[in-house]
């Protein structure tokens, strides 16, 4: 969708970068000392984090009464913040998973930070359900663990329990997804860094990645399968979060429209937050070439689309509330708009529905200060959306006798600020120590011409004892040609090393199909069966307890947890299978055929046939395919 609207063609990555430049550019901020601009951003964030930490400590020590809640309004800032952050946390996986499946190339520049943002946002979000509890030190009771109470399990009918499963699964899968994407980049970084603690850490977590094509091939499968799993997960998480309300009895909460409405809102707010961060980051980190006008265009369009969706949801829920003839429902919506919190409703409509409409105009989309302002305001509006849904419904409930009003206390405000402190602190640390743009993925979408090559003279010593030969290319196309030529001769290829998964090799190599998908399916199915069985057993067999008059086997209520377990088991099983198959493990010492294999060199490693004539023929052929150099090795290393 992105490429249609801009008449003069603008490349996705500006500055006509070469593969090597990409590595250098993106790794540059990590290799130099922190800039004063970074400190300028970090210190206030950290101060906010400390403020929030103090507020939360005080609240846990003194009691939840230090929040402005009351007997009618049991949730306010806490769950508002929770839903707000979870919403923000949706953009990352949306970008990395859904846009990946839709082959949106522009995602490559933003997906890494967006995923990191997701993790930090989910961390912020995950804090609130814990600290909002009256007895937060017992939060683990939400998890069904074997116990001496009968045993007493948990209520699988409660949306809060679904929440627990959904959020922990989402966090885990997002973390895994993010980390999987990070591995090649960590390897690239590792190969650039000077020895030291930083390199040690990076090396430890790069799992001994060497860029072998067998690993790459499986990596791509894993990535795609994970994206396939994460896509419904993204949709499910905010749907589950929305059942915190939709599963309730309250007018204004109890509606079926919530799951799609919340998912749209989540992507809306998440994308705005990504945009906000990207606009700052490209300035601060000097990444204008990587996060270009085209990226911003694309994101504003997503925002515009989701804004329209959200607006539609607002209109529909208002209309159906008035139309259904239920006095409580219609009152709730009129009260939202015209009651004591009408101002908040106004902010919500203006920021979420009206302002983003400006993005219809290309001039607005191109004017970055306006884009930035709108993106920030969208998040303000989305925060208010959740606040209105929660507080306005609770304040004026069924019985007029219990109508109340809510005012936040200083502790709540400090906690909200603290969550922003935590978010930005984490994000800034991330920018400082990890490549904030997916290096290998950006390389994959570079559209560059052939460049003049500085031919390095390979060592021509051809020992007879040599058993392997490697050819190094500086262009992926050369490699592909070379591989085709080699395969035509049916010469054995040991492996290919490249900084990003070069496409077009697969068919010519003719390697056996990976069975990772089967592993993923098996684990996912196991998750489904285990979750279904356990929920049924715990609710209907182990200790049947009457919960709200529902039957022992409340199968529809068991669906969310089952789904989350499927994704969790499938995802973790898949990654584990991949790591085992590729023999990647933390702390593994990487063996690369030559320097630059993770940077800008494409390496073909072949076994040498017994006849030296044939070997010479190979060398000849490789040189002819513009190999930078061809080298003999006594042994083939790094076999998969």
């Amino acid at each position: 969708m992105a490429s249609v609207s801009i008449p003069p063609y603008v490349p996705l990555i500006g500055g006509n970068k070469s593969t090597g430049q990409v590595t250098a550019d993106i790794c540059a901020p990590l290799e130099r000392r922190a800039t004063s601009l970074w400190w300028f951003a970090f210190l206030p964030s950290f101060a906010l984090l400390l403020l929030g930490g103090a507020a939360v400590t005080y609240q846990i020590a003194t009691g939840i009464g230090t929040w402005g809640l009351n007997r009618s309004v049991g949730w306010a800032f806490d769950i508002t913040n929770f839903v707000f952050w979870i919403g923000i946390g949706h953009a990352g996986t949306f970008i990395s998973a859904i846009l990946f499946l839709f082959r949106q190339k522009w995602r490559t520049s933003v997906n890494r930070s967006a995923e990191a943002m997701t993790l930090f946002a989910v961390t912020c979000a995950g804090l609130f359900p814990i600290i909002h509890m009256g007895r937060p030190w017992l939060f683990y009771w939400i998890f069904p663990y074997p116990n001496w109470r009968g045993p007493l399990w948990v209520n699988f009918r409660s949306p809060l329990d679904w929440d627990f499963f959904a959020i922990s699964t989402y966090f885990t899968i997002s973390l895994v997804f993010w980390y999987i994407g990070l591995i090649p980049d960590l390897a690239a970084l590792r190969d650039r860094l000077r020895p030291g603690w930083y390199r040690g850490l990076v090396s430890f977590f790069s799992l001994g990645w060497s860029g072998g094509f067998r690993t790459w091939r499986r990596y791509e499968i894993v990535y795609m399968l994970l994206a396939g799993l994460a896509t419904p997960l993204v949709v499910s998480v905010h749907s589950v979060v929305s059942t915190d309300f939709a599963g309730g009895r309250l007018p204004g909460w109890h509606t079926t429209i919530f799951p799609p409405y919340f998912v749209a809102g989540a992507i809306f707010s998440g994308m705005s937050m990504v945009l906000t961060l990207m606009l700052i980051a490209r300035k601060v980190m000097g990444m204008e070439d990587y996060i270009t006008q085209r990226h911003i265009e694309a994101m504003t369009k997503v925002i515009l689309t989701t804004s329209c969706l959200v607006g539609l949801a607002y209109a529909i829920e208002f209309f159906s509330a008035l139309y259904m003839g239920n006095r409580y429902e219609s009152f709730t919506f009129l009260n939202r708009a015209f009651g004591p919190l009408g101002w908040g409703y106004g902010i919500m409509v203006v920021c979420n529905v009206l302002l983003p409409q400006l993005f219809w105009m290309p001039r607005v989309r191109a004017f970055l200060p306006a884009v930035f302002t709108i993106a920030v305001l969208v998040n303000v509006g989305m925060w208010f959306e959740r606040f209105i849904i929660i507080v306005a419904s609770l304040e004026r409930n069924f019985l007029p006798s219990s109508w109340s009003s809510y005012t936040p206390t200083s502790i709540e405000l400090a906690t909200l600020l603290g969550s922003f402190g935590l978010f930005f602190t984490c994000f800034l640390i991330f920018c400082r120590f990890l490549p904030m743009i997916a290096i290998s993925e950006v390389k994959g979408v570079l559209e560059h011409r052939h460049q003049s090559k500085s031919k390095e003279e390979p060592s021509s010593a051809s020992e007879t004892s040599a058993k392997a030969v490697i050819a190094v290319f500086s262009e992926a196309d050369d490699l592909v040609e070379a591989v085709r030529a080699v395969r035509k001769h049916n010469w054995p290829i040991d492996d290919i090393y490249c900084p990003y998964p070069v496409h077009g090799l697969e068919e010519s190599l003719g390697w056996r199909r990976s069975r990772l998908a089967a592993a993923c399916f098996t684990c996912g199915a196991a998750g489904v069966i285990l979750a279904l069985w356990f929920q049924f057993w715990a609710s209907a067999r182990s200790w049947p307890i009457n919960v709200g008059g529902q039957p022992w086997n409340s199968l529809p209520s068991f669906v969310p947890v089952t789904f989350e377990c499927m994704v969790l088991f499938g995802g973790l099983g898949l990654v584990a299978a991949w790591l085992i198959r590729c023999r990647l493990y933390p702390g593994k010492i990487a063996v690369t055929p030559t320097t630059g294999a993770t940077d800008d060199r494409f390496v073909l490693a072949m076994g040498v046939p017994s006849s030296s004539a044939e070997a010479d023929q190979i060398r000849q052929l490789l040189r002819a395919r513009r190999a930078v150099f061809v080298q003999d090795r006594p042994e083939v290393e790094a076999k998969p």
């Binding site: 116990n147 001496w148 109470r149 009968g150 045993p151 007493l152 200790w543």
Partner: protein
């Protein structure tokens, strides 16, 4: 290099052995507050084996609240005096004194066991078992053996009435010198008994033990 690897090995060994030690501990005390095996020293070395076992005094004789109140109750010092007004020491000791006195041709001296002196003290009695106004009445600070948390409301009455043997929860008290907590008294233990008795009944009698939360928690 070698030393750091050695250190790793040593640390791992420490970790493993610590886990084993803690694991053993946790098997014994599986829950915080689980006092299974608790056997506190009592202010008077009262022997349940002697009283409930050898002498076959019914539990309810001393713990008379068991069928009438939530609490089985601990007998008042005055109740002990029903017997111990006369029995001031173990029969052996008293018999021995009588024999010694007979041999020595003197009237037998009263023999008072040092443990029973504590009982008489609590009642403010003097040597001649008479009430001594100068002495203050002091209740005996027995140490509670079976403690339930405050949020669980156990009531002896329905259990005793249903015919549940005291020993089912308290263990073979009649064989214990000093009372020990035999069961872990965890919620799961209570609930499982309620479930089993609900099916099997007590002594062939149908009972309806509740597994509702409000049976114990209110």
């Amino acid at each position: 290099m070698l030393s750091s690897r050695l250190l790793t090995v040593v640390l791992l060994l420490v970790l493993v052995s610590a886990s084993v030690v803690l694991g053993v501990r946790f098997r014994n005390y599986s829950l915080p507050g689980n006092q299974q095996g608790y056997e506190p020293v009592q202010p008077i070395t009262f022997s349940h084996r002697l009283h409930a076992g050898d002498l076959q005094i019914a539990c309810i004789y001393c713990h008379s609240g068991a069928d009438r109140s939530r609490h089985a109750g601990i007998p008042a010092s005055s109740l002990c005096m029903n017997c111990h007004r006369l029995v001031t020491a173990s029969p052996d000791a008293m018999l021995q004194e009588v024999q010694q006195a007979r041999q020595a041709g003197r009237p037998p001296q009263p023999v008072v066991s040092p443990e029973l002196v504590k009982l008489y003290d609590s009642l403010g009695l003097d040597d001649k078992m008479q009430s001594d106004p100068a002495k203050k009445l002091r209740p005996i600070p027995w140490v509670k053996v079976h403690n339930l948390p405050d949020f669980s409301c156990f009531d002896h009455r329905p259990h005793v009435h249903a015919g549940v043997e005291c020993q089912e929860c308290h263990g073979p008290v009649q064989t214990m010198e000093r009372v020990r907590q035999v069961q872990d008294l965890s919620m799961g233990w209570c609930v499982n008994c309620h479930r089993e008795k609900g099916i099997a009944g007590v002594d062939g009698k149908q009972v309806k033990p509740s597994t509702d939360c409000a049976a114990c928690h209110y």
